[in-house]
Symmetry: C2
Subunit: 187 residues, 2 copies
Amino acid sequence: MTLTPRHEPVELAKCYRLLNHGPVTIVTSAHQGERNIMAAAWAMPLDFDPPKVAVVIDRNTWSRGLIEASGRFALNIPTRAIASQVLAVGSHSGRDGDKYAALGLDTFLGDSDLPLLSGCAAWLECRVLPETAMQQRYDLFLAEVTAAWADPALYSEGRWHFPSQESRTLHYIAGGAFFATGESFEV
Amino acid sequence: MTLTPRHEPVELAKCYRLLNHGPVTIVTSAHQGERNIMAAAWAMPLDFDPPKVAVVIDRNTWSRGLIEASGRFALNIPTRAIASQVLAVGSHSGRDGDKYAALGLDTFLGDSDLPLLSGCAAWLECRVLPETAMQQRYDLFLAEVTAAWADPALYSEGRWHFPSQESRTLHYIAGGAFFATGESFEV
């Protein structure tokens, strides 16, 4: 499957809405010619404006070194169409070679030259905040969002709209099991 | 509607699974005879064992003072059946009087004498970790989970199983709009 990157900018003051419903994320990173990609279920908004996020990045991951060295990462929000890629990037280590090439992943470049994964619903480019004690004690990274993008077919004018089951975002359970984002309703 | 509290203990080493899929939470707190309840969409697991969580508690909330004073809070995970309560507790302030009484909310007591909201799917009782700089700078509370409970009809043996649409957990969008947790599938 070839996935055409479709992305339009999302207003930074409202980009928390891309993460607000608690979807699983894919963390992409790059530093001096090396790049990596991993899954992260533990990510959430931290502030509205300027937008910040919090994400747990295990110290045993290859991505961790790239993120600490570059001070940057991107959160990619995958859809059900690429759920197998989410599992694959969470099951292999970048130490064993470039995962993008090994897994045949298409990317495009964001504003900060981070690889963004094609076929995702949305993307948040982030700059790590200098809270190194949190990184060391809890593997917790706090970051400011510097650019946000969404596929306009799935998210536009501040709202998600999933035209198909395959276009829904994902919520990770454990062991290869996910929930798709379900029915929307208003109270 | 009277909701009978049904809760069975959840093994602490696996209680991250209650939060892993990113559901909206209700934060309950109490201190010296006062108690409060608020909604929090920004909560996530922080570690497996001992289990920790991270949650954003705005400095302008009444709950914040109770949590700082007592060093405790509980994360309650609501279902669609009580979505209107989630919105109500997120739209009123405890400064205006006891919200439980005003909104007719039933509770039961957890291990640490925190009020737990009846009708929820699961409950995590938490002790705040002494990371006060994070609280002051980012409204971010890190906490260790000291007890975890779930309604066995919705969660048992480490797995969610939602027997009805009304029993599904929730993901907050904005402005009174939610997603229900959707279809589960394996990759």
